[in-house]
């Protein structure tokens, strides 16, 4: 168990060194949400309506946090599939190191990276007029919910990363983009056509974003559906479901790479 902790830290450290020495990727990852905040907040913002009233930038920021968290899965898939492709995973597996260490290290590194992204994005939000209104504790709880979702997505990402080649991993963007838009991230689901509204309301990302809006005291909270009214509960449950499914799946896949 002691070795599991050491091993996971060493694997995580490797990734963190990568980010420090090759900051281009970190900047690229950060540039997208920041530019989006500027485009949606300041360019489209004046034309956007928040269902139930309220300032759009206040509404937008939790949505951006959510999208950033969801996009993080792309880097998990990429890193995992590259390690598998380059034979690094094989060497980890053929060594006496703790087998949980590899995956645990992955989640530590990804959570550190995502926390940094949330921090930068939050600072950027504070500058252009977003804020939290229900106390620091609630705000931290909201960020904890985002990281809980990120943690769940690490497992989904590990599984998918072991499944696909790095070339295919690059295409994950194509699926992630609509998945993060068919949600309450940028526009209230109430303003969408019926069927899409149902999709958006039940999108796991929506639950976390809605719960965060509530905790931040930002506008756009509520709605008639059960999912919208119980967003806090779902924001805890959805990631738990992902972990319950993908933790065992990725462990199995990891132990039994058949190629």
């Amino acid at each position: 168990m002691r070795y599991a902790a050491i091993d996971s830290w060493i694997v995580a450290k490797r990734d963190l060194i990568h980010w420090v020495r090759e900051p281009v990727r970190v900047f690229a990852n950060l540039a997208y949400p920041i530019i989006s905040v500027l485009i949606f907040g300041l360019v489209f913002g004046s034309a956007m309506n928040v269902f139930g009233g309220g300032d759009y930038i206040e509404f937008l920021l939790p949505g951006m946090f959510g999208q950033t968290i969801a996009f993080g899965i792309a880097s998990t898939i990429m890193m995992v599939s590259m390690d598998a492709d380059r034979g690094v995973t094989d060497r980890f597996r053929a060594s006496p190191m703790s087998q949980t260490g590899v995956v645990a290290g992955r989640s530590i590194a990804d959570l550190v990276n995502s926390s940094l992204e949330l921090l930068v994005l939050a600072l950027c939000g504070l500058v252009i007029g977003w804020s939290f209104h229900d106390g620091l504790l609630n705000a931290l709880l909201a960020f904890a919910l985002f990281l809980w979702l990120r943690f769940a997505l690490v497992w989904v990402g590990i599984y998918l990363g072991l499944l696909v080649k790095p070339e295919a991993a690059q295409a994950s963007w194509m699926f992630l983009f609509p998945l993060t838009m068919f949600a309450n991230t940028f526009v209230s689901p109430e303003l969408m056509p019926g069927w899409l509204r149902v999709v958006a309301e039940w999108n796991p990302l929506s639950s976390t974003v809605a719960a965060a809006r509530e905790l931040f005291g930002n506008p756009g909270v509520g709605g008639d559906s059960w999912a919208a009214q119980n967003s806090l509960l779902l924001a805890v449950l959805w990631p738990a479901v992902f972990v319950a499914i993908f933790w065992p799946l990725s462990v199995l896949k990891y132990r039994d790479l058949s190629r």
């Binding site: 091993d7 990568h18 380059r86 690094v88 980890f92 053929a94 190191m97």
Partner: protein, 310 residues
């Protein structure tokens, strides 16, 4: 290292179909075969990366299926691709692996410096590994396999993609660690590599052992030496073939005619004078021992993929 009747299926196709292997401690066994013969599959099973569907295997005295953790403490795997992390320095790579092999930070650093010295990388220790040449990266990769002084080393195509000079460097390192008592299972597509390094060669084809023995045994299986005549003109090929006799093999692309001979020097004299008598001026006449290429061709019925020759 011992394997008996190994079987592995991929999508109902047998990648290994009753594969046997016995490698005495402290020797090098070369696994030779074309792509898809099952070399890598065999290595992956012995390195506990793949479950076997049949048969049993023992590495360093432990059963690979039932005692995988014990096997992992004794073996090191060097795959086809480099696992060197380009963003880390050479030294950091080694320290990382040392830590993953559960050395303390201090021990890992000491061992890293020893290995950098041994593998001639001390000067480049602080440079990021992506700035290394192909041969240096390979050496660093090999060094990382030696952190724990493994009793068994799996080398899966260690010099694929390296230029001849770098291949020589890698060979030298392999020979050095073998001298220290490590057992090596080497897979390769290069016949000269097996010839250089292996005490014993196992030729694989379609998941089984097609032939095995020392390099010399395999070569003598082919019936000893061959005499080879190179002519200047394609018109002279039939005449040369007639002189060499009914078993002569003709390669019209290289103007080459060859045949196996038992009486070496006598045959050389006989052929030389016969060619002169028929007015054929040969570009080259030579006796040569069969190469492993010939062995391979004779055993499997097809040529090995061999882009680099010594």
């Amino acid at each position: 290292m011992l394997a008996e009747g190994l079987r592995k299926m991929f999508d109902k196709k047998a990648a290994l179909d009753g594969f046997d292997l016995a490698v005495p401690a402290g020797t090098v066994c070369g696994l030779l075969g074309p792509n898809g013969a099952g070399k890598t599959t065999a290595v992956r099973i012995l390195a506990t990366l793949l479950r076997l569907d049949g048969g049993r295997a023992e590495v360093a005295g432990h059963d690979v299926a039932r005692e995988a953790p014990a096997v992992r403490r004794q073996v090191a795997l060097n795959g086809q691709q480099s696992t060197v992390d380009g963003v880390l320095t050479g030294r950091e790579n080694l320290v990382m692996w040392g830590r993953l092999y559960h050395l303390s930070k201090r021990q890992a650093e000491v061992r890293a410096d020893e290995l950098l010295e041994q593998f001639g990388l001390t000067d480049a220790a602080g440079k990021r590994a992506k700035l290394y040449s192909g041969g240096m990266r390979r050496r660093l990769d090999l060094a990382s396999s030696f952190i724990m002084r493994p009793s068994v080393l799996f080398l899966d195509e260690p010099t694929t993609g390296l230029d001849p000079r770098n291949r020589g460097e890698v060979w030298r390192e392999v020979k050095r660690v073998v001298a220290e008592g490590t057992t090596v299972l080497l897979t390769t597509q290069y016949l000269d590599e097996a010839d250089q390094l292996a005490d014993q060669i196992v030729v694989m084809d379609t998941g089984r052992v097609a032939a095995q023995g020392t390099p010399d045994q395999l070569k003598s299986k082919l019936g000893g030496d061959r005499i080879e005549v190179v002519v200047r003109d394609a018109d002279e090929l039939p005449v040369a073939a007639e002189v060499l006799g009914p078993d002569a093999e003709v390669d019209p692309d290289t103007f080459r005619v060859s045949v196996a001979v038992a009486d070496r020097v006598a045959a050389l004299t006989r052929v030389t004078s016969a060619l002169a008598a028929r007015g054929v001026e040969a570009e080259d006449i030579a006796l040569r021992r069969p190469t492993l290429d010939d062995v391979f061709l004779a055993i499997t019925g097809h040529k090995a993929v061999s882009e680099v020759r010594a």
